[in-house]
Point group: C3
Chain length 666, copies 3
C-alpha cells in the first residue's frame, strides 16, 4: 500500500520544506505527488525552465524515504502562455473564452497548446525519466473541459469525415431526412450545443473522447521518449463523470487512478463501492486513489467534516475494493487560491489538524499489512456492465427525469453490496469468461461485439440478467428496426411490446418472492414471449390498463451448459430487487459467505495470485458487532493482521472498527 | 370526421410504404399529413426540386382511400440554405445564432428567407394546387421563434415609425419621460430583452405578431397562385402559447388547427376543454386537431403513457368541443432524430404498438357517426373573453407570481365545465349578440372597441361579469387616468378603490351563498360604488385592515332589456366560484340540463344547421354510471349512434365509456 | 422630521402640478425630491438645456411650503447619449452591452460618461446651487452596476499596478504559484467573472468601490463648484447591498440615506432595525429614509400591501433608529414605465389611494414632535462590527451554503433588539471608545488597524465577543499563517483547533444557561486554550467525534480595567444566543430598562445633546398592551407628545399604537 499526499513545495518558502516532510514521515507517508499545476514555477518565462527547486524537493523527499509521483502541469498553463496565445483558451458554449486563473481553461485539442504541452512534458521527462526516486507520472488533472471554438468545430467536421467517409453514410446513420437535417457538405455540420440529433450528440461525445486520447497520447509519447519503463503513467479520473469514454482514455494508461471525495454528508459504502469497482474495471486491475479527502472539501453546499473514524473506514473500504494507494489532497492549503478552505492535513500554521491523527493511524496500519497485500487483487463471480455510449444516449433522452443511468446501475449494484457479494463493473465489451452472473443495466446501445460477447457468455453457461432499456439502439444512437432487446430478442425469447415511463408505481407479482412483494417505479416494460420455452417469473398488477397482468420478468434456458437469459422489465423497489438478487445468487450457485451479517458491516476480499485470501471487515456502525466466521482449517488460525489477535468462530468488531483477517499457519 | 396521422415517407425506403399505408387503412385512417419538414428531400440542392417521391406517396395514399394534407416545410430549411445564407438564422437573446438541426431556427421576418420560402411553396402549389387528392395545406409548423438579430431590430424600428408616425407620439404613449427613456430618433429604440417599458414590450409582441402574419401571407399568396379554392389553408397552433396574437394570425386562415398533447400526467377535461373552446373561438368555427398524442410524448419530465381508454376519451372530448378532424403524430418514429422516443402508432419494427388498437377502435366509431356529425357545430349561451394584449400585459407584470392570466381564465371556465355548460372562448372584440352571459377574466387592457362591444351587449339585455384586473390600461399598456374598470366605471357603477396582491387568504361573505362560503386568494379589489343603483353582492371579511367589510362583488341593472353588470373583486375559491356560477346561470335563465350528473362525466352537444342535436356523453371515471336523461318525444327514440341501442330515461355508461345520442324517428 | 415624497413633474402636464402639490400639503409633506432620472427632460438634445420647467416646479413647491431635494439624473442618461456614445453602455458578464431604457445601464467608470456627467451636474449646480429653496442633493440613484467592458478591464489593471507597484508583490499576496496563476505582466490579469482567486476577487470589489467613489467625487466636485455649503449632499443606498464598500463611498457624503422597502410580507422590526442601525453607522449620524414604500412595491413575487397601520409603525421605527426624514416613493405612478404598478400615494386618477390617509396621519404626528426631535440622536453602549471585506470574503466561500454573513450579523443583533437594547452597527475600524460591549460577527478578514482597535477597546475595559469565523485572513484575503483568530489569539487566549460546517445540529452545554439549553447549527469551532487564564464557558456535546466535549466558548479577562475577550465557537440557537446576550449585558452592567416587556413591543430612545431623552414605544401587535414605566421625577411628568396625555407608572398602548414619551416639567 502506497500512502501519502499531494504536496506543492512551490507554494512555500524553501525553509519550510523540511518541517512539511518531517510531518509527512510522522504520518507514515511513503509517496508524494508533486508538480501538478506547477507550470508557471517550472517555466516562469517562455522557454526558460527552472527545475532546481523541484530537484531539491525530490531530493528532500527521497532522503526521508518518500518516493515521488510527478503530475504534468498541463491543466494550468502560465498566464504568459494564454496571454500570448489566446487561441488556446477554451471557448464556452456562449462563445466567450474561458478566463486564466481557474485551471482547465484551455482547449485540449488546440495545436498550439499541444506544442507547449509537448515541450514542458519532454523537459520533465528528460530531467526525471531516469530518476529512480520518481516512480510514476500522472498526466494532467481530472480531464473535463469541452471547447466550443471554431477550431474545434472544424476538427469535429474532419473527425466525422474520417468516421463516415461519405456524407450520405452520415445522413443515413443519423436519419437526417428528419427535420431537413440532411448535410450536403461536412462543413455544414454544427457542434451541438444543447439537445440535438442523437447521432450527432453521440458522435460529439466520441469526438471529445478522441480529443482526450490524442492529448494524452502526446504526453505519453513525450514521457516515454525518456522515461524508464518502471515509471508508470496514470491519470486521476473523476468518478462517474461522463464527459468522455473512460475505457478509451484509460487504454493507454498503465493503471487508472481516481479522486474520491464524499463531498457533503457521509460515506454510503453501498454506493461508493460501485465507483471503486468501476474504476478498477477500467483496466481490470488494482487502482490508485490519487486524491482523497482529509476531513472536508470546499466545493459543496455544506462542506462538513468526516466523522471521526470515517476517514479510516474510507481507507479500508478503498483497499477492500482494489486500491493499492491512497494519497490525501493535500498536505496544506496555500494561503491564497481558490481552495484555501479545502480540507488538509496541516493547518494554516503548518501544524497538524485533528484529522492528521487519523491519517497517522492509517499509515501505521497500512505499513503493517502492506507486505501481505502486495500482489493481491479482487476476484468476483458477478459482473455489472457499464457503457458510456448508453449513458450518453439515455442522459440525452431520459424520457423519465429520474432515469439516471448511473443511479440505475447503482440500484442493481446495491443489492449485491448489501449481501457482501463482490462485483466487477466493466465494459460491455469486456471478456466475461470468469463470471457466472452478469447484470446488464440499461444498455440501451448494443454493439455487435457486445451482442456476441453476451451470447458467448450465455452459451458458455452463464446467467445473464437483461434489464429495462436494453438493446434499443445501434451504435449510432438510432433505433434498431426491431423491438427491444434488439438483436438479443431471439436469445432472450421475449421482446418488449411497449415501454412505460411511470407516473405512478405498479405492483409486481413474482415467482421469487411471496405474492405481492414490491412494485415497479420510474420505468416498466411489457415483455412478450416470442419463444415456446420462455418462463414467466413476474407479472405486473393492476395499473394503467396496458400493463395489467402482463409479463414483467422472463427466463429462458440456453444451451447445454446451464446458461440462462433473464429479462427484467421493471425498475424494482429495493426489497423486490433484493429478493431477485438472492434468487439469482442461489440459482447460479454463487457462494455468499457473509450475506446475512448486520447491515452496515462490510466484508471485502483480496486474493493473491497463489490464492491466499485476505478478508477485510469494516464496521460502518457506531456500535460494536460480533460476526460468526468459519473456523480456520486445522493447523491454522484466523489472524487479524492489524492487532495480531486470532479468532475462532466469533469475530468481534468495535464501533467504526476494522479487521484484516488472513489464514495463518499455526 | 377526418381521422389519420402525420406520415413522413421520406424517412423510409419506398418498399416500406405499402405496409405503412395498409396499417393506416386498417386503423380507419382517411387522411394523412405529409411534407412538413421535408424541404431537404424536396429541394436537396438549391434550385433543384424532387417531387417524384411525393407524387408516388400521394398516389399510394389515394389508391387506399386516404386524402392528403401537405405541410409546407418552412419550419426546417435544408442545411445548404442556412449554411450559404447564415443571415437567415435566428439570433438568440444572447446574440448567438441558432444552430441548424433543431427546426424553427430561422428568422421568420428575414427577407432572404422569404425569397426561399416563396420559391419552395410556389413549387409545391404549382404541383399539387390542382390535385384533387390533396385537400388542404398546413403552413409551416407551430410558429414560435423570435429573432433578435440586428435586421429584426431595424424592422421593429420601421414598424414603430409606421405605427406612431411621430416620435413624440410614441414618447407620449409610452411615458418615456420616465427614466429618461425619451427617444429623439427611431433608431434609438431597443429590441427589448427581458423586462422593459410596458409600451415597448407590448409593441414588440404586436410586431412579432405582424412578422408571423406577413410570413404567413407570403405562403398563402404563394399557395393561392395555383391552389384550387377547395383546398383549404390552415396552421397548427400550440394551445395557450402567447408568442403572438392568434386572432390576428388566424384571420387569414380558412380554419384553425392545433396540436394537443396531454404531455405528462393525464387529461383533466375541465381544463383541456378550455383549450379546445379557445381554438374554436379563433375563427368561431370547428377546427382540426392536426396532431395529437398516440400514447406518450418525449419532451416532458415524465413521459408517461395515456391510460388504456384515455386516448378514446380524448378523441370524443375533442369532438364534443368542435373538432372535425383528429390526426395522430405520428405513424412511426424515424430511427434517428430528436423525437425517436415520442409516442407513435407503429413500433420501431413497423408493427402496431398497443395504442394502435385503441386508435383503430376510434376509427371505427368515427366512421359510424361521421355522416351524422357532418355540418354540426357548437352553440352556447355563455362566452368567456380572451385577449393576448391583456395576457402579455399581465404576464410582464403579474404583481402576484401566481397570477397566471390563463390560469385565471381556466379558473372561471372550470365552474361552467363542471356543470356541463358549454362556453365559447372568444376575442374581447368579437360579436357577442348570441350570448346571454359573458365573463371577462382579467381584461387588463381595454380598447375602445371592446368597451363599446361590452356596452352594446349589456344594453341588449346581456349579463356581464367583470372580474379582477379589468380595465386598468389602454391599448399602449399605459394606465387609464381613472381607477379600474376605466371607461366601464359608469356602466359598472363601481370603481376599484385599491387592488391587493394577497399574501394570505381573505374571507368572503356573499349573497349567493350561505354566510361564509369561501375566500379570496392571490388577488382582491375593493369596489367602491359610484352610482346609486348598485347592489352589493359580497363583502370581504376581516383581513389587512383595508379590505375588512368592503365590497367584493357588485351588481347593477342596465337598461330596459334586463342587462346587468356584475363586478367581482376577488379570485374566489372553487366552491364560492361554483356557487356564483350557479347563481349567474339561474338568474340569466340559462338551461342547464346535465348540471347535476356525477363529477367526471362530461356531456357535450353538437347541433346541425337544422337544429338537430347530437349529445356526446363521456364517462371519464373508472366505473360505470347511469344518468337520467329526458325521454325522447313521442314517435322517436334516444339512439346511441355507436351501439345502435335506444334508451328511455336511464342511460348507463360503462367505465371509460362513450355514448353518442341523437333523436331518431321511430 | 422632514416628511415628503419623490415627485416627477416632468411626467405630467403642467396644469396638473397644482393639484399634486395641494395633495402633498394636505398630507403634511414639507420636502420633495425631484430631478432624479430627468436628464432627457433637462437636456433633451445634446448640449441644450431646459431648466424652466424645473424652475416652475421648485417655485410651486416653495410657495406651498415644500423644500426641494434635487437628485442628479445620472442613473438614467438620455437615449441620444448612449446612442451616440455606445462605449458608455455597461457590458454584461456575457459580453453584451446593457440596453437603453432600464436605467443604471452605463459604466460608472467610463471617461466619456464622466464628461457628460460633469456637464449636467455642473449645469444643475450653477442654476440651483445658491437657491435657498433647494436644501440638498442626492447623487445618482442606488449605485449598483458593474461594467465588464474591456475599458474597465484596463482600468482594473491600472488600479492593481497602483496598489501593488511590483507584479511580484501581487503574486505573493495572492499566492499565485497556486494553479500557475502567476502574472508576469499587469495586462495578463483578468477581470473576474464567477469564482476566482480570493485575492483577485477581493481586489475587484475594492476596485468597484473606487469606481463609485471616483464617480461620486466628480459629482460632488461639480456640485461644490457652485452649491452653497448649507446644501447637503447624500446618496440613497440599498440596505445590505454588497456591490461596494459603503464606508468608503459614504465618506464623502454629508450624511447617508437609504431606500427602505419591506417588499413582500410584513415588517419584522428585529431584522429591519439592523438595517437602520447599519446605515446610521455609515456616518455615525442620523440618516434620511430617502425612499420608502407607500403600500406596496412592484418587484417582488408577491407585492402585497402593508397592513393598515404598518406604514405608521414603519415610520416611527425608522425615527426610533435615527431617521431624520422620510420620503415616500412616489407620489403618483406615471401612466407608463416599468413601475406602473408600484405603490404610490395617489391613484391613476390623481386622487388619494387608501394609504394616503395613513401618510397624512404620520404627517400630522411628525409635525407635532418635530421640534422636540430636532437635534436628538441615538446613543448606545453596545456595538456590532460590520465589514464589507469580510462579507465579500465569506460570500465568495461560504463553506456552508447557509452561512450568510448578514444573516449571522442579524442573528447576533436579534437577541439585543428583542430585549430593546439599542446597538450601533459600525465599521470594524471605527472608534469604539463609547461602547462597553462589542460584538464581532464573522470578521474573517482582520486588518492591523482593526486588531489594534479591538485590543485598545479591551484594554480600556470593554467586553469583546469574538464569534465564529473571526480572524482567519489578512487584508488580501489570504489565510493568516496561524489558526484563528489570527493576531488576536494572544488576546483571546484561545485558538481555533478546527472549524466545522455542520450537517447536523450539535448540542451545547453552557455556564450561562441551565444544562442543555440549545445547540449549534451551520458552524462550529473547537477552541483550544493557549493561555493559563482562560475560562471555559461552554462545551459541545456528543457529535461527530471531533467536537465532543471540546470548548465552544471561552472567556479571558484582560488588563486592569475589567476588559474581557469572549470567544464563541458556535452559531447558537436563538434561545441560547438570548441567554448569552442576557449574561453579557448583566456582566457588563449595561442597563436594560425594557428588557422584559412583551415580545412585539419595541422601545427606542433618542437623546438630545443636552441629554434630554425621548422614548418611542411601538406596539407591533394587533392588541393593546400596558407597560410598566418608571415614574417621572418629582415636578415632572411622562408626557406623550402625540396625544398630550401624561402617564404615571402604567403606559397603555393600543394595538398598532405609538407613544412618544418625554419628561415634561410640570
Amino acid at each position: 500500500m502506497e500512502f501519502g499526499s499531494a504536496w506543492y513545495p512551490e507554494h512555500w518558502p524553501e525553509e519550510r520544506w523540511a518541517e512539511d516532510v518531517r510531518l509527512m514521515c510522522e504520518a507514515g507517508f511513503i509517496v508524494a505527488r508533486i508538480g501538478e499545476f506547477a507550470w508557471s514555477s517550472l517555466e516562469p518565462v517562455e522557454g526558460h525552465f527552472q527545475f532546481e527547486w523541484m530537484d531539491r524537493a525530490i531530493c528532500l523527499l527521497h532522503k526521508n524515504g518518500i518516493s515521488v509521483v510527478i503530475g504534468t502541469p498541463t491543466a494550468a498553463p502560465p498566464a504568459w502562455l494564454t496571454h500570448h496565445n489566446p487561441e488556446v483558451l477554451a471557448v464556452e458554449p456562449n462563445g466567450r473564452p474561458a478566463q486564466h486563473g481557474n485551471r482547465c481553461h484551455v482547449s485540449p485539442g488546440n495545436s498550439t497548446y499541444h506544442k507547449y504541452t509537448r515541450r514542458i512534458v519532454e523537459q520533465l521527462a528528460r530531467r526525471y525519466g531516469q530518476d529512480e526516486r520518481v516512480i510514476g507520472w500522472q498526466i494532467d488533472n481530472e480531464y473535463n473541459r469541452i471547447d466550443y471554438s471554431e477550431a474545434t468545430h472544424r476538427q469535429f467536421q474532419v473527425y466525422l469525415k474520417e468516421k463516415f467517409v461519405r456524407i450520405q453514410s452520415l445522413n443515413d446513420f443519423w436519419s437526417t431526412a428528419y427535420w431537413s437535417q440532411s448535410y450536403t457538405d461536412w462543413n455544414e455540420i454544427p457542434l451541438p450545443i444543447g439537445p440535438h440529433n442523437p447521432g450527432l450528440m453521440l458522435a460529439f461525445k466520441q469526438f471529445i473522447t478522441k480529443i482526450w486520447c490524442d492529448f494524452q497520447k502526446i504526453q505519453i509519447a513525450s514521457l516515454r521518449l525518456y522515461a524508464r519503463p518502471e515509471q508508470w503513467i496514470s491519470h486521476n479520473f473523476m468518478e462517474w463523470f461522463e464527459g468522455f469514454d473512460h475505457y478509451e482514455v484509460s487504454a493507454d494508461l498503465d493503471f487508472a487512478s481516481w479522486d474520491w471525495c464524499v463531498g457533503t454528508g457521509h460515506m454510503n459504502h453501498l454506493m461508493t463501492g460501485a465507483a471503486h469497482d468501476m474504476i478498477r474495471g477500467l483496466k481490470r486491475k488494482n487502482f490508485w486513489l490519487m486524491e482523497t479527502q482529509p476531513g472536508s472539501v470546499n466545493w459543496q453546499g455544506v462542506n462538513n467534516q468526516l466523522n471521526r473514524g470515517e476517514g479510516r473506514r474510507m481507507a479500508w473500504h478503498a483497499v477492500a475494493h482494489g486500491a493499492d494507494a491512497l494519497l490525501y489532497w493535500q498536505l496544506r492549503s496555500a494561503p491564497g487560491g481558490q481552495e484555501q478552505l479545502h480540507g488538509s492535513l496541516l493547518g494554516p500554521d503548518g501544524a497538524p489538524r485533528p484529522f492528521y491523527s487519523e491519517a497517522a493511524q492509517i499509515g501505521k496500519e497500512f505499513k503493517k499489512v502492506s507486505k501481505k497485500l502486495r500482489g493481491t487483487t479482487i476476484k468476483n463471480s458477478v459482473a455489472l456492465l457499464h457503457s458510456y455510449d448508453s449513458r450518453w444516449s439515455i442522459n440525452a433522452q431520459r424520457h423519465h427525469k429520474d432515469f439516471d443511468p448511473v443511479g440505475f446501475l447503482r440500484h442493481c449494484y446495491r443489492s449485491f453490496a448489501a449481501r457482501n457479494v463482490g462485483t466487477d463493473i466493466i465494459s460491455a465489451e469486456a471478456d466475461l469468461s470468469e463470471f457466472r452472473l452478469v447484470i446488464v443495466p440499461a444498455l440501451v446501445i448494443l454493439s455487435e461485439k457486445t451482442m456476441e460477447n453476451l451470447t458467448t457468455f450465455v452459451e458458455g453457461g452463464g446467467t445473464l440478467l437483461l434489464t429495462i432499456r436494453c438493446g434499443q439502439k445501434e451504435t449510432h444512437n438510432a433505433l434498431f428496426p426491431t423491438r427491444q432487446p434488439g438483436p438479443l430478442r431471439e436469445l432472450a425469447g421475449v421482446e418488449v411490446e411497449e415501454y412505460f415511463a411511470l407516473d405512478a408505481a405498479v405492483p409486481i407479482y413474482s415467482e421469487w418472492s411471496d405474492s405481492l412483494a414490491g412494485e415497479s417505479t420510474i420505468w416498466a416494460e411489457i415483455l412478450k414471449p416470442i419463444a415456446e420455452d420462455v418462463q414467466i417469473l413476474a407479472k405486473f398488477g393492476e395499473s394503467n390498463g396496458w400493463l395489467d397482468g402482463r409479463c414483467a420478468c422472463s427466463c429462458r434456458n440456453v444451451g447445454e451448459k446451464g446458461g440462462r437469459v433473464i429479462v427484467l422489465g421493471a425498475w424494482l423497489s429495493d426489497t423486490l430487487q433484493d429478493s431477485l438478487t438472492a434468487w439469482l445468487l442461489e440459482t447460479t450457485h454463487i457462494d455468499v459467505p457473509f450475506s446475512d451479517i448486520p447491515t452496515g458491516v462490510e466484508v471485502g476480499r483480496r486474493v493473491s495470485e497463489a490464492g491466499e485470501e485476505i478478508w477485510i471487515f469494516i464496521n460502518h456502525k457506531n456500535h460494536s458487532v460480533t460476526l460468526n466466521i468459519p473456523s480456520a482449517p486445522a493447523g491454522s488460525a484466523n489472524l487479524d493482521l492489524l492487532t495480531d489477535e486470532t479468532f475462532e468462530a466469533a469475530l468481534p468488531i468495535p464501533a467504526d472498527g476494522i479487521r484484516v483477517l488472513t489464514n495463518q499457519q499455526a
